[in-house]
C-alpha cells in the first residue's frame, strides 16, 4: 500500500475517461432517450386528440342523421297530405262532373219531354180539329175559327 506515480497516471486516465463520456457517450444517449420520450408524449397527445375528434364526429353524424330523419318524416307527411288533397280534389271533380252529366241528362230529358208534349199538343190540336171538322163539318169555317182552335190547342 504505497502511494506512487501510479496515482497521477490513474487520475489522468480518469480525467480522460470522464471527458470522453461527457463529450461522446452521454449526449447521444440523452438525445435518443429524450427524443423517444417526446415522440411517445406526442403520440399519446395525438391519440387523445383523435379520440376527441372522433367523439365530435360521432355527435355530428348522429345529429345529421336525426335531422335527415326529421326531414324525411316531414317530406312523407307532406306527400301524404298532398296525396289526400289530390284524392279529395279528384273526388270533387268527379262528383262535379257526375252532377254536370246528370244535370245535362235531366235537361235533355226535360227537353225531350217538352218536345214530346209539344208534338202531342200539335197532334191533339190537329186531332181535335179533325174531330171537330168531322162534327162541325158543315157549320164551322176553318179559317174563321182557327184562332179559337189554336188557343184551345195551347191550353191542352
Amino acid at each position: 500500500m504505497n502511494i506512487n506515480f501510479t496515482l497521477i497516471a490513474q487520475a489522468i486516465a480518469f480525467a480522460i475517461l470522464i471527458w470522453f463520456t461527457v463529450k461522446f457517450v452521454w449526449p447521444p444517449l440523452l438525445g435518443a432517450i429524450e427524443k423517444r420520450q417526446k415522440e411517445i408524449a406526442d403520440g399519446l397527445a395525438a391519440a387523445q386528440e383523435g379520440k376527441a375528434s372522433l367523439e365530435i364526429a360521432e355527435k355530428k353524424s348522429a345529429q345529421s342523421v336525426g335531422e335527415a330523419k326529421q326531414k324525411a318524416a316531414e317530406i312523407i307527411s307532406q306527400a301524404e297530405k298532398r296525396a289526400s288533397e289530390l284524392l279529395e280534389e279528384a273526388k270533387h271533380q268527379a262528383k262535379a262532373e257526375g252532377d254536370r252529366i246528370v244535370l245535362g241528362a235531366k235537361a235533355e230529358i226535360n227537353q225531350e219531354v217538352n218536345r214530346a208534349k209539344e208534338s202531342l199538343r200539335a197532334q191533339v190540336s190537329t186531332l181535335a180539329i179533325a174531330g171537330a171538322e168531322k162534327i162541325l163539318l158543315k157549320e164551322i169555317d176553318k179559317k174563321t175559327h182557327s184562332d179559337m182552335l189554336n188557343k184551345l190547342a195551347k191550353e191542352l
Binding site: T6, W26, E39
Partner: protein, 268 residues
Amino acid sequence: MEHEGTLSSPSQYIEHHLSFNTQGAEASFWTIHIDTLVMSVILGLIAMGLIWMVAKKATAGVPSKAQAFVELLFDFVDDQVKNIFHGDRHAFIAPAALTVFVWVLVMNAMDFLPVDIMASIYSFLGIHKWRSVPTSDVNTTFALALAVWFLMIYFGIKVKGLGGWLHELYTAPFGAKIWVWPFNFLFNLIEYVSKPLSHSLRLFGNMYAGEVIFLLLGLWAATGVSGLVFGAILGAGWSIFHILIVVLQAFIFMMLTVVYLAMAHEGH
C-alpha cells in the same frame, strides 16, 4: 499455489499474489504499477467503448437489446443524480457519474477472476507478478477520489466565486462571528481531508479484503481434501456474496462522487 514451485510458504503465496508489477525505482514515488495501469485503462476503454458504440447508433425508435441495456444503465445513473443534484446535471455530473460507476464496476469485477488460474495464465505469458484488480490498489481509488476532490473544489469556486468559497471556508458551518472562524476553518479542513480519504479507502478496503479472503481460501484448498472441499464451497459462497459487494461498492463510490459534487454546488 502449485503453479510455481518456488512459492512454498503461505506468506510467500500471499505476498506473491499481492505484489505489483512495478516499473521504475523501487519504493520511490516515481514507481509505476504497470498491472494496475494496464488493467484499468484496458477495462475503461472496453467498457466505455462498448457503451460509446451503442450510443453512436442510438435511435429514438425501437431500441436494440444492447441499446435497451445501456439505456437502463443510463436511466439508473440519471435517476440517482437527479435525486441528489438539482441543476444542469447533463453538462457534467451525470456523465461523470456514469463513468465512475461503469469504470469502478468493471475494475471491481476483475475480483471474480480466480487468482491462481489467472496467475497461471500470466506466468505462461512470462509475467510473474500481475494484480488483476485495479481497485485493490490504493493508487487507483485514491486517484479517483482525489480527482473528485479537485472537481469539488473547482465547482465550489466556480459556483460561489473564489471569495465566496473562501468566505464559506471560514463562516460555515458555525456562523460568521469572527471568534468562530478558526473553528469553522478547522472543521472544513477536516472535512476536506476526510472526504477523499474515506471515499478512496472504503473502496480499496473492500476490494483488498475480498482479494485477501480469496487468497486465504486458496491456501486452505491447498492443505488437503477437506480443505479443498471447504475451500471450494466457501470460495463459491464468497464469490456470490462478492457480486453484491462489487456492485454495491461501485454504486457507493458513484453516489459519494455525486453527493460531493452536488454539495460543492450548494451553499451551507
